[in-house]
Subunit: 169 residues, 2 copies
């Protein structure tokens, strides 16, 4: 049976870090719900290739309704992490140990949600120091699985990321 | 006598965080040299308003030739901090206690250069946790001066930032 996966997204996301995992989820029969600051808003990736309309506003999003959370990278996570509602949304997945999939700059949102201390994770090289300072055991690998967390470094890692993401659902 | 100020810049800088401080420096009789990955490359601000041509490549930039360093915010500092040469450039200013002016996301570059521990600073709210985890004594004020460091939070703070920046030169 298909699962319901929340994706949190803002402008300047890394295009393929949304499109390729979202396509893989849909092809496997799962539902993808895009949650942004506003519902029905078109967001543009930082490469200008992907234009994605949000399904739901964070104001109306209930974390209990989702089986897993996907956090694409680019500059989107840094924009989302200034909004306390996205931090609460991420925390809810951590509390119930539901799967969280984060790639590239995705872990920035998890740092601000304070759900990374003592976890084995990877992420984009520029934020490695921020992850380590927040207590992450950083591994420079294409994909790191630690319980309910699946993390990857960059677009090149997407095949490995998608494989481990689907294995959690 | 005018001083020579290096500005490190990449695409997606916060437009006014370059243009307004750079204008203030030039009006006060100082020279502004824009240093990027490549020389003679046009960089575009994230608002699409400012298009700035770099004067010099980081490959040819000698930190000893400058009296001070300016780091505008936006997503530019996160792009610069993945390049070790910009980290070395920042470290050189810290070692000689020459002035460093950073606004908004500018401190991200200083975190990766490992020159922030124990310093009183401010920065954009989304990176506050990264600054604190790196050992910064964060102050939520329009401008914080700690010895040779002048830092501000966001575009609204530019008048206070410019005033303290000019006072250091």
């Amino acid at each position: 049976m298909g699962r319901k996966v929340a994706v949190v997204l803002a402008d300047h996301f890394e295009d393929v870090e949304f499109t390729k995992p979202a396509d893989a989820l849909k092809e496997a029969g799962h539902d993808v719900v895009v949650i942004g600051v506003e519902a029905g808003k078109e967001l543009t990736g930082k490469q200008g290739e992907a234009k994605i309309k949000t399904d739901l506003s964070i104001a109306d999003a209930k974390p209990d309704e989702y089986d897993a959370l996907l956090i694409p990278g680019g500059f989107s996570p840094d924009l989302l992490r200034e909004d306390e509602r996205f931090l609460d949304f991420v925390k809810a997945f951590d509390q119930d140990k539901r799967p969280v999939f984060a790639i590239c700059h995705g872990p920035q949102l998890m740092i601000n949600a304070k759900v990374v201390e003592g976890r084995n994770m990877t992420g984009y090289k520029s934020i490695r120091i921020d992850m380590e300072n927040a207590g992450v055991r950083f591994e420079d690998k294409e994909v790191v699985v630690d319980g309910n967390y699946v993390t990857s470094r960059q677009p090149d890692d997407i095949p490995a990321f998608n494989k481990e993401m689907l294995a959690q659902l």
